[in-house]
Symmetry: C2
Subunit: 682 residues, 2 copies
Amino acid sequence: MSKLTDVPKRILIGRALRSDRLGETLLPKRIALPVFASDSLSSVAYAPGEVLLVLSIAGVSAYDFSPWIAVAVGVLMLTVVASYRQNVHAYPSGGGDYEVATTNLGPKAGLTVASALLVDYVLTVAVSISSGIENLGSAVPFVVEHKVLCAVAVIVLLTLMNLRGVKESGTLFAIPTYVFVAGVFIMIAWGAFRGLALGDTMRAPTADYHIKAEHQGIAGFALVFLLLRAFSSGCAALTGVEAISNGVPAFRKPKSRNAASTLAMIGLLAVTMFCGIITLAMTTQVHMSDNPAVNLLHNGVPVGPDYVQNPVISQVAEAVFGKGSFLFIVLAAATALVLFLAANTAYNGFPVLGSILAQDRYLPRQLHTRGDRLAFSNGIVLLAGAAILLTVVYGADSTRLIQLYIVGVFVSFTLSQVGMVKHWNRHLSTEKDQAKRRHMMRSRAINTFGAFLTGTVLVVVLVTKFTRGAWVALLGMCIFYATMTAIRRHYDRVADELTAPEEPSDDSVRPSRVHSVVLISKIHRPTLRALAYAKLLRSGSLEALSVNVDPAETKALKDEWERRGIDVPLKILDSPYREITRPVIEYVKGLRRESPRDAVSVIIPEYVVGHWYEHLLHNQSALRLKGRLLFTPGVMVTSVPYQLQSSEAAKKRARRRQDWNAPGAVRRGPAEQRTKEPTAGN
Amino acid sequence: MSKLTDVPKRILIGRALRSDRLGETLLPKRIALPVFASDSLSSVAYAPGEVLLVLSIAGVSAYDFSPWIAVAVGVLMLTVVASYRQNVHAYPSGGGDYEVATTNLGPKAGLTVASALLVDYVLTVAVSISSGIENLGSAVPFVVEHKVLCAVAVIVLLTLMNLRGVKESGTLFAIPTYVFVAGVFIMIAWGAFRGLALGDTMRAPTADYHIKAEHQGIAGFALVFLLLRAFSSGCAALTGVEAISNGVPAFRKPKSRNAASTLAMIGLLAVTMFCGIITLAMTTQVHMSDNPAVNLLHNGVPVGPDYVQNPVISQVAEAVFGKGSFLFIVLAAATALVLFLAANTAYNGFPVLGSILAQDRYLPRQLHTRGDRLAFSNGIVLLAGAAILLTVVYGADSTRLIQLYIVGVFVSFTLSQVGMVKHWNRHLSTEKDQAKRRHMMRSRAINTFGAFLTGTVLVVVLVTKFTRGAWVALLGMCIFYATMTAIRRHYDRVADELTAPEEPSDDSVRPSRVHSVVLISKIHRPTLRALAYAKLLRSGSLEALSVNVDPAETKALKDEWERRGIDVPLKILDSPYREITRPVIEYVKGLRRESPRDAVSVIIPEYVVGHWYEHLLHNQSALRLKGRLLFTPGVMVTSVPYQLQSSEAAKKRARRRQDWNAPGAVRRGPAEQRTKEPTAGN
């Protein structure tokens, strides 16, 4: 806040409102937690189920391994959280993994991280929405019967909301996230109380079902592979942890410390919820199958293709709270809502990352400008389109979509942690203070362990999931990488071409005189204004130019010109084919040929209308002509606008648009501060 | 030709090629016939069948009325042709029915005719393509099995061809049209020879079928109504006659006489073919039913929904030439091709009419300019979209589509003929020469009879077809009418607002000084060029303006500015939120507030790239800023383009585009001549 008030100019140019607003966006921890946690906490809604699904391949006996897998996921989670706490302290500027990788491992590693994260955003939307629909479906069967339709509808809704510019509000995130967390903890506590104190036998709706093992008596390498696959699926619980490292600037001071403790909080909550749900699932005997239609038996008969397998969290809630009970419904709704909010984080994260990439010229420059609605819209539509495509192709089946997920996350984790190790090595090589050195070495040890563990998991994920869909995610990463490299190369090439010579001796840059030409179609207010302006410019010479597309009209024009005594010579170009653009272009080129050292200034009267449909009716020839003139060397093109009454509507619309809040504004923190922090890249 | 050569300037401005081309487009009669005839001649491929279909409702005995209906259609056709011969002589400028109605009955009647014709173009495409597919299907069963798909594919193909700008070539039209006409005449002649001279019994493939009457023993008013319905359907043969009245300027001299004799030729051919096919259908005992699945019996059993009812012309051809014979295949192919060409005439007629309507400001003005590819593209896509919609909704069933057809044609016929009567009345009131008066009175008599007959048919068509689909066509007409009225009203309102005052005393139009502002982001070649140009303009004052979105970059800019010793003051605007547009707009508004009598000239350096995807990467801020500045009063906006190497590609593309031939160019005739003829309306 203090930084913002010491810019007195802002009051002069009427910005008081906006700076106030930005002050509000600095997040206290209690709001920052839900803003950044919905993504990672919501994954406990599907991650435990995915573990059981994979284990079921080896039959229900393999379920016994699930607590160990839960422990492994928990250890990994705590490691990743501990590692990212180092990131948050070392790189508080909000560049996140992209910045860490670029600074320490070079631009290619940075771009790899960025591509991975972009793919991840798409998958966050697809997976979270699909899972949200499945959770909602456990309470509202209609939803799960029209899964793909409902999923696409929710994506479209989120997209429209973000295109309209719904502000990412802390409170909006806080309520469902806290209700969800509270619900899960009440469920775990009440389940433990019923089981341990009351001695109740809680039975999940699928407790009486049986699982036919796809591979009976699996052992040895095959068993290890299966356990690794189950572990990979469980790792879905880790997504979203890295988000906080992009959001440090949005925290209140001390920023890094607050971010780090929020991160620790999220990690602990996620691990507890994940392990609690797995334990309850074991206790209540949830039975889930990878292929329920065939391998899930009820009374010895396969349940068939119409069977809907509810998510673990809803089966457990049914066992603990009772089917259709109030708490069951609340938890199902909160779960779905948190999952939709998790999808929404991708809509917010995308522009934040896009802005940073645009700053380094890997993406179109306008993405860098805050609040560039058009640019963000394109990004949002791209994100939504890709997510809808995946949702439709994979039938909104979260289990199949998860095969694609987390590749990107672990690419990002691994490169970021390796980068952090290099970071500490570099700092240790210069740091003399022993206390600081000890601290750095501790941090380096944490990040080294993190790099080792996440790297191992990345290999495991790639090996166990490549043919099951991870290749799609890798392909997406390659496409993003190639596109961004091409954009950067283009910008570099243009920058080379544009570089100004040190000695401004180039003749083509310094014309000697300007010959002005005012285009006239009729004599009306806009042309009179354009003529008046043109005269004021006092260029070398001035003439009016009209194209004869209709002899009668041209004659009338000439007569009126004389009658009004306009003291500018009027030149008429013939155009037997009623073209306008070509004769003018040819004439201008002719002028340039006659005196190549002169520049030509073409002045076009335009009238400004307010609605898009009015645009279709006006200025089309002028627009086309302007477009073509820009390609003619030695020409400058001047529009003299004349505002019609209807243009007021457009003015108002433009003003409304400027007050628009870009998605991601909250989690990015105030721009003022971001630009004053050290930034990544060159 | 002679008129074109007396414009020596054209050679100077490099147009020789185009004027040659236009010379070629003047049509000799032998080419004009197929160009204008494909629409009206092709309708004999479906009109006779439609007559039989309607009659079949009263059972096969009602077929006996078909020769009478053929005679009635023939009389009507000859009347209409005779009437239009008068139009062609009286209005040789190519304005057609629209011009006749506007001049004689006022703009509302003219607009009604125009709306009717626009709807008609859409239906010409839908009906002709559907019928073409049915005819092709009689030789290639695959086509008729995937009717809608094939019909849409042909429409899309035609659309792409016209969007690409395939020239409407006389030869392209001539071959299939002459093959078709020759094929039908050979069929009639050979059929007559076999039947009368050889005494062969020719039997159509449906000769052994029986028709179950939907209404047995129909009589009295119901029978009259049915006969009128059959007659209405037969009137489909008259579509396309009016086309020639739009095409007079395309004929060689003497234009009107040549057009009139071509029209007579088309009329005679159409009547002969229509009557010949009906006669052959009676002789070979073609059986067709309105609802073949139920009412067409084979061996006493309904043929069922899978039965494909082939068109009359193909059944007759099969009976006369033999199934699968060479001539049968040739005729089927020629019929389909002529029908597709008939659809193509709508693609050509649309821009011709659109251009005339645009001249009268009922449609966007750019449609008036010949060769405005973008505008024509929009029109073509609209036409194709509406035709595809109708084709899909009506299942590419020509019988159902014909219910919508010809309402528009007869609205146009009737209003045009009434207009012609008024035309002669007006001329008779001033004409003294008795010979001329006699001639005019004869013409008036013909047109009066034409107006009476077409008006009656219009009522018959409306009464018999309104609920069967004609309401859709009327609705379409209303939509076109309302849209065009709204466009005209908008143009009129804007024209009022723009009218220049006679005494140029208005202060806002005459600023006293110009304050120039050059926008600078970096120092590179484009900015140096913009600064150089700005200096040459010698405006009242000049400064450079930059927006501080990144303090480091701004500092570098300031340093370089000083180092290079640029003698223009550099003003830096603060923009804590990385916006560009708003600070600049506010600054410009501030300048205007300080000295309201001055104008502000904003000079923007731009670099010009060659590909659309490069546009996405550049100039977006400049574009947005320009758009907003146009709404700020007292501002002129100057682009100083800097052409990058890649802009060469765009230049070449633009040149290619200019050489594009607009659809309808052939039938409209050379523009030079059109503008010298008297034109319609105001």
